[in-house]
């Protein structure tokens, strides 16, 4: 029997009178790698925010089989990028260890080892003492991935993580996420405009247009919807 991890049940989200998600339902199995795609305004970011409890639901529910599931979140880089922010990489990555800690939430020696471990794994240990604002877009993205990964999450949600990266770095990034998914068994939800990469690396695809248009294995996508939808997306990769 498949191990159901999350059930998204009939959720709707409204901003004012504008419906951004309309009775969306699907289930996620432990270890899934889901590519979440859709046009601008299709509700992708709202869906992941709803799953993370960052916005209020108009109706429906998101049920985690384990309510204490460890979550990692990688937001769009533009939302966190501030060149003036005075923090070293190790401080930023340490934020990922704060959940479940008791006040005053001190970063312990064991935590510092965890920070070093994830920096080594993501091949950015040399950035440990660098100021975050001094890093390139690709380096910053790896640091934010380290922040999301440092607590060994069971669920990793990423919102257009590669939008600021050049093609070569983007490819490396996707390979890294695939490795995290297969080696650690981490469930991955990847919001992306990059349909080609989603088809290459994800195992399932969820196409959203305020409601679920398609949710199944990636290889069933082309046969089920035809190529029109694919071309529409691929023509505007950074919309």
């Amino acid at each position: 029997m498949l191990n159901k991890q999350i059930e998204v049940k009939n959720i709707s989200v409204k901003y004012g009178n504008h419906i951004v998600l309309d009775r969306v339902s699907f289930e996620i199995i432990k270890g899934d790698y889901i590519g979440l795609v859709g046009a601008n305004g299709s509700g992708k970011t709202s869906l992941v925010k709803a799953m993370l409890g960052l916005i209020q639901l108009e109706s429906g529910s998101v049920i985690y089989q384990n309510p204490n599931i460890k979550k990692g979140y990688l937001p769009q880089i533009a939302l966190t990028s501030d060149r003036l922010f005075p923090a070293e990489v190790k401080e930023i990555v340490g934020i990922g260890l704060l959940s479940k800690k008791k006040r005053p939430k001190i970063i312990t020696k064991a935590d510092k080892v965890k920070i070093d471990d994830i920096l080594i794994r993501l091949n950015i240990l040399d950035l440990k003492h660098k100021r975050i604002g001094d890093l390139s877009g690709g380096q910053q993205q790896r640091v934010l991935l380290a922040r999301a990964m440092v607590n060994k999450p069971e669920l990793l949600i990423m919102d257009e993580p590669t939008s600021a990266l050049d093609p070569r770095v983007r490819e490396d990034f996707y390979k890294l996420i695939q490795e995290i998914n297969t080696t650690d068994g981490t469930t991955v939800i990847l919001v992306s405009h990059d349909l080609g990469s989603v088809q290459k690396y994800a195992r399932k695809m969820l196409v959203l247009d305020r409601e679920v248009v398609f949710f199944d294995a990636v290889d069933k996508f082309a046969t089920s919807l035809g190529h029109d939808h694919f071309h529409l997306e691929a023509a505007n990769p950074h919309d």
């Binding site: 070293e88 959940s99 006040r103 005053p104 939430k105």
Partner: protein, 273 residues
């Protein structure tokens, strides 16, 4: 140097100067420790907005012939929370929310002042700061506030750091971001009310913004920015108050000028480094 110590010794013989130094240093500590969270969250002008609310409450207090503190503290705290709510619920950016509350308060203060003539001199001391009006009660309240601010920053350091960097991620980490924002807004409100005695309504926001922005020029880490901005702010207050006494200048403006000078030095240091 002997002359400087002579001036300080003479200055410290006066009770009002002792109170000015103590309150000034305590407000400098509070303003700079809270400043980093406000500046980096692009909420730094909240100090200015709340100072304008304070102006209105002082006008009301003088009209009612009561102590401004008892009206200012609850009203300014309410205004700070109202600004947060406007930002959150009314879909207004922080600067617009501050602008609304700020201009409304100044207008209210002006109307009250024009209707009830006779306390313009008192109001002037709140507008530009006057160390002569600092009371023993201000010293006690500033001390309590400074202890609360320092303890809050120590106990909630990592939560505050997390919400300042990325509020959404902090929320995913289980941090109550609304509570933390309300806590910072409340402490800022009290700091403003007590701080306008020293530097005045017009200049109090400088005690929140200047030290942090100066420290940001040279600090690499978050912790070092907090420590450095506190040192800068206390230094500016000490030099400003002593300088204003020695040269017979207004204390508030002198503190701000020292802060501006320190910023220029830090900026220059960053450029040549």
């Amino acid at each position: 140097m002997t002359n400087l110590f002579g001036i300080i010794g003479e200055m410290m013989q006066y009770g009002f100067m002792q109170r000015a130094i103590i309150v000034g240093v305590l407000i400098a500590i509070c303003g700079s420790m809270l400043g980093i969270f406000l500046v980096l969250k692009k909420f730094s002008m909240i100090g200015d907005g709340l100072a304008h609310v304070s102006f209105a409450t002082v006008a009301i207090a003088l009209l009612l012939n009561t102590s401004p503190l008892f009206i200012s503290i609850p009203v300014v705290i309410t205004a700070s929370l109202f600004i947060l709510k406007l930002n959150e619920k009314a879909n207004l950016h922080g600067d617009a929310a501050i602008g609304l509350v700020s201009s409304f308060s100044v207008a209210l203060g002006i109307l009250i002042t024009s209707v009830s003539q006779g306390f313009n001199v008192d109001l002037f001391s709140f507008l530009f700061g006057s160390i002569l009006v600092i009371s023993q009660m201000d010293v006690i309240l500033s001390l309590i506030l400074a202890v609360i601010v320092v303890l809050t920053v120590i106990l909630y350091y990592n939560d505050l750091f997390a919400i300042t960097h990325d509020e959404a991620f902090a929320s995913v980490m289980g941090i109550n971001t609304k509570y933390m924002n309300a806590l910072i807004a409340t402490l800022t409100a009290i700091t403003i009310v007590l701080g306008i005695r020293v530097v005045g309504t017009m200049l109090i926001s400088s005690m929140i913004i200047f030290p942090t922005v100066t420290a940001l020029q040279i600090s690499k880490s978050f912790k070092s920015t907090i420590v450095l901005s506190t040192v800068i702010s206390v230094t500016a207050v000490l030099i400003g108050v002593v300088g204003s006494y020695a040269l017979n200048l207004p204390s508030g403006a002198s503190i701000v000028m020292v802060n501006a000078l320190l910023f220029v030095l830090a900026f220059g240091f960053k450029r040549i480094r």
